[in-house]
Amino acid sequence: MDKYIRNIYKGVYTVLVGMRITIRQFFEPNVTHQYPYEHDFEKKQNVREIPKGYRGQLYNRIEDCIGCKKCEMICPVDCITIKGDKLPKGEQLWDSMNVVHLKDGREIIGILDGDDKKIDLQGSLTLTNTTSRLGPQEVIDRLEPSNDDTRTQTISGDEVSRVVTRNPVVFYLDQFDIDMSLCMYCGLCTEVCPTECLTMKDSLEGIEYSKFDRTDLIFEFDKQEMYNKDDESSIEAAD
């Protein structure tokens, strides 16, 4: 009998101890969000910030790609297919250029003054024959004034995050397919890329994986008009 009552007491007491902890949660802010009703992407309400360097969808800037096939070789699941051919001897798609990645996400393409192997980020960089991409429209307008041959841009070293050398392309890419239904998001391919043209998007904008056909998930990055030499807009940097 004594044990019986002690059991009841123990049961009630330990449950009450647990109840005290759960009741305390009533007075704390909610951790969960009612997903479709409480978020608003435009107002950035309850939208979790995706950290820089998040391994999202693969994206290849084909105009920087030199077709080295390193990513194809390192891929553990063989989701990248590259077919390329050499251009006729003596022809190349552009001269050696530098791509300066700024910390605010802009990129400026041009030829760096001095030796680009020894870049001093303490001072300032001078770029000639520049063009800018992926920036806000007003920046592009400012950087692309009338004089074609003397576009010079001086950038303070504090703004620069990294400088990439863009080698002349002697390779003509016929095919650059990434099968996103196979990709395992390990990020090995982006690490070996010498020109840093193959990246993983760290945002969820424009990512759409729901397709009716599996072959629609093969992303073809070579289907851009950049190899048409008459198209000035795409190979402007090479002129």
């Binding site: 101890v17 553990p76 395992m184 998001y185 390990c186 090995l188």
Partner: protein, 401 residues
């Protein structure tokens, strides 16, 4: 029965066995932690035999590895124990590094900074893994609240991992010769300071939280009634089945590879290894479900203490990756084991001097722990099977590989 009624003594013979019934439990049963199918031979509600059928998650890890170069295998180890993927990465990298050390021509040393980052991240991952084990064990036994609390805290850890390596579950962070540089973190920079501050903030929040969880679930009468004294695994039995990690320490064997065979820089830290003891006031005996569960709760505290020691020292300066030209171990073979959250994770690698291994074998702690289920469950009730599966803390991705 009529014959017994006719006699005067009226002895009623109890039939010790009724008709046996075979019941399938799983593969989609929510408490089997993945896709485990148990074939139960039941006598009423008493389990005569529980035969695990595994292989639903088999992905040919070992055969895959024979066709991949060493760095390419690391993402596949992520998929073994996906709850503690950092530790799986580390186990494989340690094995390959040990194999490469035999080559005296190509000397390399893993940078200090990388070693500290590895220990820090892996201990945090151990906390995340034990949190998941604690949460799901509570849910298996009918307490839903601990599950929500555990996932709330685990989410903070996953966000930390996401910041350091860019992924939430399959990290591919620890590489052969160091750690990944995919998100650069310069020594002494604001990024590093923010990262360490965030960990400190988490530890400050989490340490009192463990005591709260002990109040909430560990000492709860309903929970202890289900687990205390159930499925006692003796030390001999644990050793003979090859159970390792918290399951072995729950059976009273004082064995932790981090302390007894220190790899990496574990010999520099001061931490206790929790070992199960009899608790008379609760009725818990060494080796029962409650002891195995309690070991995990205590281990979380030790992991917090290791992380705090690293934070107090600060991360050393220097690179995070050794200077390796190519990962090409010399000819030879090696077995290396490390202490993953679920026990001894071993990799046996045979190399012929090429960039690809000839054979890789993964020794998974969950597989050995699951093999003890058949003996543990004999004579118990069906509901106790749930308690056993939760207490040996298996992840089917690692059992099947």
């Amino acid at each position: 029965m009529e014959s017994t009624q006719s006699t005067e003594s009226k002895i009623i013979e109890l039939q010790p066995f009724t008709d046996e019934m075979i019941v399938n439990m799983g593969p989609q049963h929510p408490s089997t932690h993945g896709v485990l199918r148990l074939e139960l031979r039941l006598d009423g509600e008493v389990v005569r035999e529980a035969i695990p059928h595994i292989g639903y998650l088999h992905r040919c890890f070992e055969k895959h590895s024979e066709n991949l170069s060493y760095p390419q295998i690391i993402p596949f180890t992520d998929r073994m124990d996906y709850v503690a993927a950092m530790n799986q990465n580390w186990g494989f990298c340690l094995a390959v590094e040990k194999l490469m050390e035999a080559d005296e021509e190509k000397e390399f040393a893993i940078p200090e900074r990388a070693e500290y980052l590895r220990v820090l991240i892996c201990e945090l991952n151990r906390i995340a893994s034990h949190l998941l084990s604690f949460g799901t064990y509570g849910m298996d036994l009918g307490a839903f609240t601990p599950f929500l609390y555990a996932f709330r805290d685990r989410e903070r850890l996953l966000l930390l991992f996401e910041k350091v390596c860019g992924a939430r579950l399959t990290y591919n962070y620890i590489r052969i010769g160091g750690v990944s540089e995919i998100i650069p973190m310069e020594p002494g920079s604001i990024d590093e300071q923010n990262f360490l501050d965030e960990i400190e903030e988490f530890l400050d929040y989490f340490e009192p939280q463990i005591d709260e969880y002990n109040d909430l679930l560990t000492s709860n009468s309903i929970f202890s009634e289900r687990t205390v004294g159930v499925a006692v695994m003796s030390a001999e039995m644990a050793l003979s089945y090859g159970a390792t990690g918290p399951n072995l320490r729950g059976s009273g064997v004082d064995w932790d590879l981090r302390r007894d065979e220190p790899y990496s820089i574990y010999d520099r830290f001061d931490f206790d290894v929790p070992v199960a003891e009899d608790i008379p006031e609760l009725g818990a005996v060494v080796g029962d479900c409650w002891s195995r569960y309690k070991i995990r709760m205590d281990e979380m505290k030790e992991s917090v203490s290791i992380c705090r020691q690293i934070l107090a020292e600060g991360l050393p300066d220097g690179p995070v990756m050794a200077e390796l030209k190519a990962v090409r171990p010399p000819k030879g073979e090696l077995y290396f084991r490390s202490e993953a959250p679920r026990g001894e994770l071993g990799f046996y690698i045979v190399s012929d001097g090429t960039p690809k291994p000839v054979r890789v074998k993964g020794r998974s702690p969950c597989f050995s722990a699951l093999s003890a289920l058949q003996e543990l469950s004999q004579g118990l009730m069906v509901a106790d099977i749930i308690a056993i599966i939760g207490s040996i803390d298996i992840v089917m991705g690692e059992v099947d590989r």
